[in-house]
Structure formats: structure tokens, C-alpha cells
Symmetry: C2
Subunit: 231 residues, 2 copies
């Protein structure tokens, strides 16, 4: 962490690359070649240095990707105008996070690690929590509710991203297909009857339906005195 408080030249070997340079080069590689082509060696070549030199400017590859994600969020996430009930505000904010992540599939596994998002995305978290509080939850309940929404959202992103990956990279029949064709109707009647429709149903994008159900459940389960006016 170079402290430029004093403009005096700092001791030590002068850096040939900067943190900003590294991040910028990473952004370029991801944009031009895709996130899976971003390796520390390629990145080093891009900035004209060696792999290990990068580690003096970013802690590890994960931190670099989180920084890229911050930039991405700041560039693309737009705040919706405030309108609708608190419930709708919560749903809109969660959906905005979901949409941003859906278009950025390499981000999913990152966010399982650090549980919060970029500074930019915190505004959306605020909207979710605020909507829940104005729906009648206590602040503590609202935070727990936000966590539930976050679990649901990240789970959906992770699973559908992985499924898409699987389809493009490996056309072999999935285990699900094999198992579902051989279900015992006596043991598992519901699943057996649904077997042929299962693939189609699970291929739908039902994020919003589940999100609405979850938010409704959170509001009615834990907040009796909901403020349903527009505030």
C-alpha cells in the first residue's frame, strides 16, 4: 500500500507495473478473450512482466476478479426509479442483482466466497433491506430476509450457469436423464409421473416466481404490521 501522503520519493525498487495497470489488462483480456482465458501468466505477458510480479499488486487471482467485478457492476448496474410498494422495491432490487450476475457468469463462484458485493451493489442491498423494513419487518428480520434472498439468488445463478457450461462443453447425457427414465412409480409416484416433463420444467427461468414467493413469505411470516402504502 504506497502512501502518497508525503510526495517524497519512497525507497525500494521502483515498480514497473501498477495495480491499475494490472486491473486494466485483466479487464481487457476478459473482454476480448473471455474470463476463462484470464490466467496469471497471460496477464503477466499482457503487462510485460512475470506472473509472480502480479502478486505484489493483487493478493491473489480471486481479489483481481473481485476488482473486475466491482468495475463491471459500476459500469452496468443502473438504479431503477423509486416506484411501487416496498415489496416491489425489494423484488426489483433483487432482480437487478440477479440480472447483472446472469450476464456475468464467471462471477458466480466468486461471490460464494466473499459474502457481499461491490460498493456499487450495496445500494441494491440497501433497497432490499429498506423494502423489507417498510413492509413491517424489524431491522434484524430484514437482514435475515436479505440473506435468504441472497442465498436464493446466488443458488439460482450458480446452478443455471453450471448447467449451461455443462451443455456447451460436454454433450454426454446427464445423470438426471438416466435416472429419471428408470424411476419406480411405486416408490416415487410424483416424480415418475413428472419424468418426461421434468427437463422442460427445470429448463425454464423461474427466478422471479420464486423470488416473489420468498418475499411474500418473508413479509407475511414475520411482519404483521406491514406498511402497504407508498410511503
Amino acid at each position: 500500500m504506497p502512501t502518497p501522503s508525503t510526495p517524497r520519493k519512497s525507497p525500494g525498487r521502483p515498480p514497473r507495473i501498477s495495480r491499475e495497470e494490472v486491473i486494466e489488462a485483466g479487464r481487457r483480456i476478459v473482454a476480448e478473450q473471455g474470463a476463462d482465458r484470464l490466467t496469471m501468466r497471460r496477464l503477466a505477458a499482457e503487462v510485460g512482466s512475470t506472473p509472480m510480479a502480479l502478486y505484489h499488486h493483487v493478493r491473489d487471482k480471486e481479489e483481481l476478479l473481485l476488482l473486475l467485478l466491482d468495475e463491471y457492476a459500476e459500469r452496468t448496474m443502473r438504479r431503477p426509479e423509486p416506484s411501487g410498494t416496498p415489496r416491489e422495491q425489494t423484488i426489483a432490487a433483487a432482480a437487478a442483482i440477479h440480472d447483472a450476475l446472469r450476464d456475468c457468469p464467471w462471477a458466480a463462484e466468486l461471490l460464494t466466497a466473499d459474502d457481499l458485493m461491490s460498493p456499487t451493489a450495496l445500494w441494491f442491498v440497501e433497497q432490499i433491506v429498506d423494502g423489507l423494513i417498510r413492509s413491517g419487518l424489524t431491522p434484524e428480520q430484514a437482514v435475515r430476509g436479505y440473506r435468504a434472498i441472497w442465498y436464493y439468488t446466488l443458488g439460482q445463478i450458480t446452478i443455471t450457469a453450471a448447467a449451461a457450461n455443462r451443455r456447451t462443453r460436454d454433450p454426454r447425457p446427464t445423470r438426471r436423464a438416466q435416472i429419471f427414465t428408470a424411476l419406480d412409480p411405486a416408490e416415487l409416484p410424483r416424480l415418475a409421473r413428472l419424468a418426461d416433463r421434468w427437463a422442460a420444467i427445470t429448463a425454464e427461468d423461474t427466478y422471479l416466481d420464486g423470488l416473489r414467493a420468498l418475499v411474500d413469505g418473508l413479509i407475511t411470516d414475520q411482519g404483521g404490521n406491514a406498511d402497504r402504502s407508498l410511503g
Copy 2:
């Protein structure tokens, strides 16, 4: 896939190791040394063979882990006696899956890939779907509801497992801590006011609360004619 339909000896070089041997050795390594010590090279040494020989018996490491997970589920998951409303049945089945995965942290990232669980666990899926249908949902709605529950459950497991990993391996302060101490109360009033309680609240295990909310929301959102009798 050796087809033992005809007991006649098959041509080709006779195998020195079997699929079952590989799986058993894998189980042993995971039990004695932990899942992160299970590498293809160690496994090969354990069965007295070479790494690449394993690939004639399992497709890749992921398939091996899925097989181990099947075994684990079969060994540990116990069916609860059928009691309670359909709603409670759904919740109990989901909670059973959750508990099994919580005690098996290496499984989480696996299941983001293949969207279904072991044959043993399918019984619990049946219970979830059945409970939703008996609560008034159509079969299609019930499958979508199950998916929502699955997203929520896997998201919760993944995130809390990753957080635990982080804490044990890297005591550096998380980004969340740094960001939350410097929140602007004018921009993000709710979060600023909650900042000091945030860590404690998000450390709680609130899986069941969220699950109940989600199931309630699924039932009341989409099924008006719920069967609330015991059936």
C-alpha cells in the same frame, strides 16, 4: 462398461483394479484424511496403480466424488416418519437434505454441476414435490417450487461453507468488514445503522426461517385451494 451378461471371459488386457476398488479407496481417503487430500495421484497410490489408470474406471474426479456422495447419502440419510401437514412434510424433507449437505461441505460445489442428487435423495425430492402438490399446487408449479427450494438450499450451503473455509484458512479481515465500517449514512442509511450488528446477524443459521417463508410464499402465491388437512 463391462457387461457381465455372458460369463464368457472378455477380450483385452485384464484389469488390475476395479471401479469398486477405486471408489472404496476414495472413501477411505476422504474418511481418514479429508476430502481435500483426495487427489488422483494419492488415490492411484492407494490402489497401487497409476493416476491415468483410474480414468478407465471413473470419467473424471467429479464423477468419483458424486459416487462417494451417493454412498454418503445412502449411509446417513434417514427418512422421517410421515407426520404433519403437507407443508411440514415439504419443510422436513428440505431440511433433511440441508442437514446432510451441511455435514458434508465438500459436496456443495459438486451439486452446482449436476442438478440432481443421488438416487437415495430422490425420495426426499418426492416428499417435497408431493407436499407442494397436496398443498394445492399443480404438478408443474410444484416442480418449480422444488427448484426454488433447491436454489435456496444450495445457495445457503455453498455460502456458509465458503465462509467457514475462509475463516479457518485466512484470518485477514474480510472486505465486508472494511466496507461496512465506512458506510455513508446519507447514502445507505439502513445499512449504516445496521453496520455493527451485520456480522452477528449474518453469522446466525437462519436456514429454517427462510425455508418456511419460501414454502409459505409458494403455497399461498400459487395455490388457492390448499389441502390443509392431514390427508
